[in-house]
Symmetry: C2
Subunit: 322 residues, 2 copies
């Protein structure tokens, strides 16, 4: 029998929808993953979301505390409106919160997935004991969420915390966002892999070449990490460079916000200690002197299923504010 100690978290992506029944401590009781069927358009995706939610609540009717949705792109809180999400073609504006509230009769909280990740760390993870922190997620894109006084800081229109689009070189590499020199254009997963491929094509020697049997298309950030751990100099230099550039971008963030606790998550964060050490050292080197000794960089605690957990945390977070 479900009760107010449980929430459903939904991680809405362009490829798959992951849903989980989660308890107050962030433990996943049951989870499902269904295809988003994004090409089918809005109605189809919404049907898949409802399907996934029903699946995780299957046979356990009763009143859960609520449903949380982590959605890509911009979200308006009031009606849980998802606006023009990347990877979900044809959405425009969809009042997803209102729609799901009608279907399931419980509170529904929709948030941008980067903000949901920060709230996940706040409620269950590495941010539990901090009043203020910045969460940065290193994946295909580089996303961010800002927690001030244990609340998510959304800015004027919900776009705050676009940490992937902090400049490290205003005359540098082209970023997908249209600007030049954003940190994402250097350490976003795809950019990173492209750069590594190019360097290997140009003759850099690396243990990676053994791992992939010389098929450059097989390179992943996981393999770079493995090779770095094995002591491969090339891969170590990639990890150090990634951490250093990340640290440079974080110096601007800390100088603006005076928030000195940084939590790093996402796939590229799997680079591990060498990444964290390089980021911390670059950040301390570049931040204003008065903030230097307060700098703290922590790995995110929600690793697997961070999307589901972050989404479910929206429900518990919201109940805290009441």
């Amino acid at each position: 029998m479900l009760n107010k100690n449980f929430a459903v978290g939904v991680d809405l992506g362009g490829t798959s929808i992951k849903a989980g029944l989660v308890d107050k401590k962030g433990k996943i009781i049951k989870k499902v993953s269904v295809d988003s069927l994004a090409d089918g358009g809005v109605e189809t995706v919404i049907r898949q979301i409802k399907h996934a939610i029903n699946e995780v609540m299957n046979g356990k009717s009763g009143k859960i505390l609520g449903i949380g949705i982590g959605a890509p792109g911009s979200v308006k809180l009031k009606k849980g409106t998802v606006e023009n999400p990347p990877n979900l073609p044809g959405w425009g504006k969809v009042h997803l919160g209102t729609i799901l509230n009608k279907e399931f009769g419980c509170d529904v909280f929709v948030e941008n997935d980067a903000n949901a990740a920060a709230i996940g760390e706040l409620i269950y993870g590495a941010g539990r004991n901090f009043k203020n922190f910045v969460m940065i997620t290193l994946g295909t894109g580089v996303g961010g969420g800002i927690i001030i006084d244990r609340k998510i800081y959304r800015g004027e229109a919900g776009y705050a915390g676009e940490l992937g689009h902090v400049t490290i070189d205003s005359m540098g590499r082209q970023c997908n966002c249209g600007a030049i020199g954003c940190i994402e254009a250097y350490i976003g997963n795809n950019y990173l892999i492209e750069r590594v491929k190019k360097q290997l094509q140009e003759g850099s020697d690396s243990l990676l070449l053994n791992y992939i049997n010389n098929d450059l298309n097989l390179i992943t950030s996981k393999l770079i990490c493995d090779a770095a751990i094995e002591g491969d100099d090339f891969s170590k230099s990639v990890v150090v460079d990634t951490g250093t550039k990340l640290g440079y971008s974080l110096a601007s963030v800390v100088n603006v916000l005076d928030i000195t606790t940084i939590i790093i998550g996402g796939g590229v964060a799997g680079f591990g200690k060498l990444l964290f050490d390089s980021a911390k050292s670059a950040l301390k080197e570049r931040v204003i002197a008065s903030s230097r000794n307060s700098i703290r960089i922590l790995p995110a605690k929600l690793k697997n299923n961070a999307g589901i957990k972050g989404a479910s945390a929206l429900v518990f977070y919201s109940s805290l504010k009441k």
Copy 2:
């Protein structure tokens, strides 16, 4: 006869202390400027501050609303503690608020001068009608203040809004703060003048050379502005470059904060329309698409005596919060 409609504002600098009696609308009724005598140490400077305050209240005994102090460097609000202010040698930590409260028996509010400038614009100036804005002051240094929901955002330890130390090129010019590529290292007044001198030495042709009778030590940002207005191509390029770089740095700030109203003040802002247009155009080009159409760049309204007015605004700001 003075009453609660008046405040005293004190602009504490390394060279001079300016104090003014200011009314609720930001009008200066009387002002004085005295030498800081900074080499004399803490006691001497405090005596000069008291002297200046007594001067502006001279012969008009009575209860003003309070005294506001804009101080360089880091300030702790509780006791109005000024910590290691640049240009005031030997200060360490001075509880200036407590000291002046004992002397004058009224409320005393001490703030970092960049934050005081932002509060000045909030109370009397270009920020009066905005809930959120970022104030950036272009002078010898580049300073900033962040207003969120009509309150100054100070961060964890009062260091927030260090907008001069947002990176535009992490492999670029050395900044005084120890980091590389901060916007201040490109558009702070001294850096700017040095760069112009160098370009003229290297043979750039400019109307400026006539203005200064070939004595490069006479170059000021005011002269660059005048020459640009006269149509001098070299000076125009300096102004456009300054605005463009400023815009690039502001893109990072807006992407982090999602605050789209920017108020620009300080001497270099005297570059005028060409500077503002270049900054706006660069910012709109570089900010994430969803914020692009909300961008608004405004000149500060408090120009002359902005320091005194900003300091006095601390008193009225504080009375609003009660």
